[in-house]
Every structure is written in structure tokens, then in C-alpha cells.
Amino acid sequence: MQKEETRKIFEDARLKFGEDVAFSDRPAEEGSIVVQPSRIKEFSRWLRDDLKFDFYSEVGGADFMFQNPRYSLTYTLFSTKERKHIHYKVLLDEDEPRVDTISDVYAGANWHEREIFDMFGITFDGHPDLRRLLMPDYWRGHPLRKDYDIGGESVQFSANFADVTPQTLPAPPDEEVFLGWDRLETQPSSYTQLLDSGAELEDAGEGRMIINMGPQHPSTHGVLRLLVELDGENVITTLPDIGYLHTGIEKTAESLNFNQALTLTDRMDYLSPLGNNLAFSLSTERLLGITIPRRAQVLRVILAELTRIQSHLVWLATHGLDLGAMSAFFYCFRERDQILDLFETASGVRMMTSYICPGGLREDIPPEFMPMLQSFMDIFQSRVDEYEVLLTKNPIWLERTQGVGKISVEDALSYGVSGPSLRASGIDWDMRKVEPYSGYEEYDFDVPVGSHGDVYDRYLCRVEEMRQSHRIIAQAIKKLEPGPVGADERRVLSPHKIEIGNSMESLIHHFLLTTIGFTAPPGEGHVPTETGRGLLSFYMIGDGSPKPYRMRARTPSFSNLQALPLMMQGGLVADAVATIGSIDIVLGEIDR
């Protein structure tokens, strides 16, 4: 169905762009439009202005080595009016890959393009600030290229700051095209510009001051670094610097089989591991073309909602702590612990569960799980009331959060802000409603929507979401019926233990699945999902091998953080802390 819509848009595009657009069957269920690189900006603008694709989601790159053209960029947009999405692609040649930026069309593309520049070495013409994003500025090579050396290379960074300045580094090898190098020496990046101007301002006695929040700061929620220019205590500009937690998850996944790559997703957004597992599994299942039995679907919903509650609880706890409300922290962690106990009962692990896997669930839940869940369900509503008593009507809380960190719907959509942070601005946009997956269409729940887009509305939205998740779980418990929790697909899931004991063939099959893994057909799979933080989707590319050829993660915190400077503008230092807390970022999934 989605494919038909894409085709319709393609036909319109044909009339306008002629031979410069083509239709592609990848991803198989959705289709995409391939655009000539020279017309990409025009095409994006056309989609935004004429077809009302107002919600920018992502740009993701892929390197198809030995193919011509070698690089492919996939753009994903949503239309909030018509509730559909579209992929379109640009294919780029091997030598000197460059394409126009769309960061002036969609503000959110800024960081995604920088990431692609960093990882693939593709230049974006007209980009306002084309620097490396995740790797250090002096890094050589582009890690996500398929010909990037893995293993054996010396570590490129040093603990000593003097060693890493461009002057002391050896000249880059000739054979490598290192686009960032000359840029670094000739063009001062905005970071150094900011520092320089800060020094000037301080010298000139303007009363301006640059403070460096993070990467070690109590309120940056991880290793986020913000360069904040202050006039007294007023924030003038903010420049986020990320990449301190970059662990190369997307690259590592390419050398692991699907079940192993699944375990990496736990470690991305470490506060909603099961949400990540679910998104990964859905995309992989779409790539494989398999369907999941009902019991597994319902259990997945229960687990995903528990994860959402758990993630929101950590958010509420730390957000409260940021604003000095320290008691809420402990109340929230009390309930979170109950949820982690549930995860432990089900999967044996409290946080990095990898419990939802391609094909269903790893195992069925143990019998003691349901009574535990029920006892949690019984108390949780009253516990949410308890948090609200502490905060919702507290005059100081209201003073601190109302009218702080505002962002308009239009800005939020253009930046690709998603999840409660987007809904607080006043738009009803939840992937569980827009493109239901795992049977969410069967559940009766409401999407809380704010109106002011400030910290307080984000707070209200998340608290209400916890109640709604509670509602969903209550319905799911009623829907739960006995049955298998794995798809009837022997090429994906191991045979049952008893069968392995009795049949040599099953044992061999189990052995192969464990050591090599299942193979995925060549193709692409993409399912947008809603985690506690927003729109999470994995863009899986298979090449017929047991490993993902490319695992691209579109993570919600990444886009949400990008809009932070906009929200922080004109606030005070204390507002900055409130705003950072309110967008609920997890650096693990920003840096990946």
C-alpha cells in the first residue's frame, strides 16, 4: 500500500523533474524515488512545499563498494497531514562524491549531513558548518566506508591534548582523500570561531563569558558537551559538541550476524533496551519478510510499554534532580526497580536484555512473570499520583518550567524533533498511531498533546504517557493467550531444545544458526517505531549474507538534541539545565 503511494508521488515527480527521477523497489514494501544529485535540493523543497512533507526524519548513507554509483543516501520524510512517509535516494559516484545540502530546507539535516561527511566522506555543497560530527576533528579516513581498515591501526587520539593539535600530527597519507584536513587549517570551524570570539569578548571587557558545560557536568545527562556563551547568566549562543560516546555501533554491526547485532542495540539507548530490540527486530523481520505469532506480538507490546514507563521514570527522576527536586528521584527509581525486576524475571538480565529478537521473543515468559506484572500494575497509577503531588502544582516547579525552552511545531518538525518533545509543541504525532506496528492498532489509548512546547508541557506529556502505557499494558494482559512466541520460521529461529536432543539434523541446524546465523535476502527494511524518546527506526540493508550489510539507526535523541540551541536561546543557565533535562536525551543513542 505504501508502495502505491510512493509510486503516485513518483508519477507527479516525473511530470516536474522528468528523467531526473526514477522509481526504485528498495525497500521492497515501500519503494523509493531516486533523484539526480543535482536536483536534490529542488526535489526536497518540492516535497516540503507542494506535497506537505513537513516532518523531516533522517538522511542515512550507505556504501555499496564495487558498484557504480558507489554511495547511496536515503532521505526519509513524513507528512503530518496525510500521515505517510516517503524515502528518496541519491546515488553518488566513487570519485569526489558531493551533493547539495538540504539543511536550508530541513534544519534537521544539518547534523545528519555532517555525520555522513564524517563517516563516508561525502561533501555537501553549501552546508553551513561541514565538520566532523562524531569522530575527532583530526581523524583520518571515513569509518563507515567499506574499505576502511579495521584492526591493526594505531589509535588516533591521545590523552595528551598537546599531541592532537593539527600542527603536531603527521601529514595525512597521500592516497587518502581526507576532506576535513585542509578545512581544519584554512577554515576556522564555528567551534574555534566561538572560542576565539569568546576570548576577544573577554579581552574587550564585554562581560561575555564562554563556559564549557560537559562532557563532565552533572546535568548534561552523559558525555554531552555544550559550549555556552553567557552574558551574565543569560545564554547567548549554544554549541553542542557530541561524539564522546561514539562506539561505532553501526560499523560493528556490519561484522556481526543479526542476532549478535541485536545485542548492540541494547547499548544504544540504554534506558529503553527493549524498545531498541523491538525496532531492530521489526526492521529485520521486514527485510526477511516473516510474520510474528500473536502471543509474541502482545508480549512485545507489554515489554515495550514497560520499557517506556521505565525510561520515563528515569527521565522524571533525573529531570527533577536537575531542578533540585531530589526526592522525586528516589520515588521514581523505586518503581523503575520493579520494572527491572520484571525484565530480569523474563530475560535473566536487568538492562541489556536482547529479549525481543528477530522472529519473536527469545523464550516464553516464566510463570511468575504475570503475577509480578499484576502487582506492579496495581500500584503504579497511585505512584504516578504521588509524583504529581510533588511536582505538578508546586509553585517553584511551575516557575521553573513554564515558558522555558520553547519550540514551535514548525521548528520542531523541521528539526525532526520527535516523541513527547514534539507532542508538547502541539501536534498529535505518535508512530504507534500513525503507522501501527506490533498490533498497536488494537489498543485503546490516547496520545497526550501539549500546547506551548515548553518544559512544563513536555513534563505533562510524559507523565500522561506513563498513565497511557499503563492502560495499554492492562489491555494487553487481557489479550494474552497461550501460544508460541517464535515465528514458524526454521531459517531464523532455532528448533526447540527437545527436538535438538532427538534429531541430529536439528542439532546441526541449531549449530549453524548459532555460529553463522540466519541469512537475510538482499534488500532493505525499515519500520519506524515510537520509543520513550521518539521516532526510532533502523534502516537495515541485507546482501544475502548472515550479517547486516548496513545497519543505519535513526535515533530520536540525535534530532532532539540538535534543536537544543534553539530552545535554549535567551534563557538563563538554570533554564539550560531544565531544557536539557526536558528533551530527555541519552548520549548512547546520539553517538552510537
Binding site: K81, E233, G324, E399
Partner: protein, 381 residues
């Protein structure tokens, strides 16, 4: 023994006792704070070192003393060394004039239960408590750290602003007592038959709030707002110098609580027989009631924002304190002997009005924002 020698010896003994007791109170208070706040937050608190974790502060103190003293580069050394001292000395010295009991007679001579019986005691306390801000400001300024600097700046602005309401509420009490002597203030409360918390209820509330702000404690802990300024003014302090700031803060808390007890809660007077040891127990109980109240506030409320704090100080606290002072003065002049009664009535009425205003403001705050009503499953618009 001449009178002077006797006074000298008595003062010395009292000073030593007060000094030792105050400093020994610090670990007790730290333990108490950790326990009280822990209980409010569903935790157990320290329970490993000693019975009920009582020795935990001691272990911490030993750790702090044994710690390396790191001096960051670029600090103004003299000021950096001096700042913690400046913050603890006034805190200790301020307690010198606080009376903790009826004067007793030893060997036919009067011994005041306060280190120094000064007839302008309350001025002395105010003067010293404003000195404490220097410690914090200078620490922030000399540390060569931007967060410290911001902390120090906040502290100076905040403490100066809240000094004014404290002073004004004190003046109202002084008007009632007709004396600056703390001993007289206590005696006058007994004489008028009702503690000053009655006729000066609004003043009492203002004093508690303003002194909380002056103590730099949550929700007014701007200077060390750990989520914004890392640790504020004491970011760059380690070891025992850091401990001195800590001690200064807790000693200040005791002094302020003692002052509040003396001014509003009738000092050492309680129910039951009027013997000196019972009086002492009453006095300590009242002080601890205040301290636990401060801890309770810390556990329940979020931190106020710096500009809101200043706005609150100048736009609410100071006008309210001025009004209170004016009202007190007028009633004293007009009602003369029956001033206490009238003041109590006026205060209760004002308090009711105040509550109503608070409710109104809060409901306006809430109204400005519609609730996030769950929307039906419909497209926007």
C-alpha cells in the same frame, strides 16, 4: 578574685564549651540530615559505620583531613586560603551572644548563660552573619573557575538581598521588646504572655524564609546549585578546606535556628518546671525543630531560579517585611498596652489574606497552561 578576673575565667570556660559543642554538632547534624532526608526519600541512609551509622560523619571527617589539598593553577593564593576561614569564623563567633538559659548565680555572682552579654547582641549577630558572604564570594572569585565565579556572584547578590528582610523582621521584634539585648527579648516574651510567634507571625515566616536563603540552603542554594554550577563556589576546594565550608554552613544553621528560637519561640522557656537543665533541653529541642524543618524543605522542593529568587527577595520579601514593620510600629503606638493582642489578631488576619493570595497566584499559574488532555485519535486541526 576580682570581678574582672571572674568574668574573664567564666567567659573563657563558656567560650570553650560553646566552641566545642558547636563544632561537635556539625557531624551530628550531617548524620541527622542524611538520616532524615533518607527517610523522606524511602532510603535508609548511613548505617554501616558505627551504630545507626553514627560514626559515618567521623569517618568522612578523617577522610577529608587525610585528603590531598589540591590547589588549582592560577588561583589567588592568599584569598583562596583565607576564604574558608572567613566563612567559618563569623558563623562560630555569632553564637557568642545567643543566650541559652536564665542567668545563674555562682558563688554569689551572676553568670550569664551566653559567652558575652552584649546589650546590642542582635546587631552583633546581624553584622557577623553578613560577613559570612565574604567567604563564599571570595572563594568563588579566587578559584579561577567560571562555575565558582558564577556561584560566588550569585551568593553575594542573594545574601545581600536577603539580609534586608532579615534585618527588617528583626527590627519589628526589637520594637516589641524595646531592646537590642537578646536576653531582654526573651524576658519580654515571657512578660507579654505569648511568644513572639503570635504577634509577629508574619515576621516569623519572613524570617524563616529569608534566613533559609541566607543560609544558602535548598531551595535557595543558588551558590552551589550542583546541577547547574557543578559545585558552585567550592568546586575547586578539596580536603579540609572544603570541610570548613561545610562546617561553616552547619554552624550557621545552628546559629540561625538559635536566633529564631530566641526571637520568636521564647528562647529556653517551655512547659513544666523552670529549672536550668530543663530549659536547656527545651532550647535544644526548639533549635532542632528548626533544623529538621530546613531539612524537610530541602527534601521536598525544587530549586528556585536565580532571577526568580532575586525577584522574590526584592518584590515580595522586602515590601512584606517593611509592611510588617510599619504595622507593628503603628499598632504599638496606637494600642499601647494591648498591642500584643491586636498584633496577634492583625497577623492572623494577614496570614489568611496571604494564603488566599498564594492560592490565587498558584491557580493562575496553573490556568495559564491547559492540562495535556488526551486527544481523541484525530489528525491535528
Amino acid at each position: 578574685m576580682s570581678n574582672t578576673t571572674f568574668d574573664w575565667i567564666a567567659s573563657l570556660i563558656k567560650a570553650v564549651i560553646i566552641f566545642v559543642v558547636l563544632l561537635q554538632l556539625v557531624p551530628v547534624l550531617i548524620w541527622l540530615e542524611r538520616k532524615v532526608v533518607a527517610r523522606m526519600q524511602q532510603r535508609i541512609g548511613p548505617n554501616r559505620v558505627g551504630p545507626f551509622g553514627l560514626l559515618q560523619p567521623l569517618a568522612d571527617a578523617v577522610k577529608l583531613m587525610a585528603k590531598e589539598n589540591i590547589i588549582p593553577t592560577g588561583v589567588d593564593k592568599l584569598v583562596y586560603y583565607l576564604a574558608p576561614v572567613i566563612s567559618i569564623v563569623p558563623a562560630l563567633a555569632a553564637f557568642a551572644v545567643v543566650p541559652f538559659g536564665e542567668p545563674i548565680h555562682v558563688a554569689g555572682r551572676v553568670v550569664y548563660l551566653q559567652v558575652a552579654h552584649v546589650n546590642i547582641g542582635i546587631l552583633y549577630v546581624l553584622a557577623l552573619s553578613s560577613l559570612a558572604v565574604y567567604g563564599i564570594t571570595l572563594a568563588g572569585w579566587s578559584s579561577n573557575n567560571k562555575y565558582s565565579l558564577l556561584g560566588g556572584l550569585r551568593a553575594s547578590a542573594q545574601m545581600i538581598s536577603y539580609e534586608i528582610p532579615v534585618g527588617l523582621t528583626v527590627v519589628a521584634v526589637v520594637l516589641l521588646a524595646g531592646s537590642l539585648d537578646l536576653l531582654d527579648i526573651v524576658n519580654q516574651q515571657v512578660k507579654q504572655g505569648i511568644w513572639n510567634i503570635g504577634p509577629q507571625f508574619i515576621g516569623f515566616l519572613l524570617f524563616v524564609v529569608a534566613s533559609n536563603a541566607e543560609l544558602n540552603r535548598a531551595p535557595f542554594d543558588m551558590a552551589e546549585a550542583e546541577s547547574e554550577l557543578v559545585a558552585g563556589f567550592h568546586t575547586e576546594y578539596t580536603g579540609f578546606r572544603f570541610a570548613m565550608f561545610f562546617m561553616g554552613e552547619y554552624v550557621n544553621m545552628v546559629t540561625t535556628s538559635a536566633l529564631a528560637t530566641v526571637m520568636y519561640l521564647g528562647g529556653w522557656h517551655g512547659f513544666g518546671p523552670d529549672v536550668w537543665y530543663l530549659n536547656l533541653i527545651w532550647f535544644i529541642l526548639k533549635i532542632f525543630a528548626f533544623i529538621i524543618f530546613y531539612m524537610w524543605v530541602r527534601a521536598s522542593w525544587p530549586r528556585i531560579r536565580y532571577d526568580q529568587l532575586m525577584g522574590f527577595g526584592w518584590k515580595v520579601m522586602i515590601p512584606a517585611a517593611l509592611l510588617n514593620l510599619a504595622a507593628t510600629a503603628v499598632v504599638i503606638v496606637v494600642a499601647k498596652e494591648r498591642a500584643t493582642l491586636w498584633l496577634t489578631a492583625v497577623n492572623i488576619a494577614l496570614f489568611v489574606v496571604f494564603l488566599a493570595v498564594l492560592r490565587l497566584v498558584n491557580s493562575r499559574q496553573l490556568e495559564q497552561h491547559r492540562q495535556v488532555v488526551p486527544q481523541p485519535d484525530a489528525v491535528r486541526g
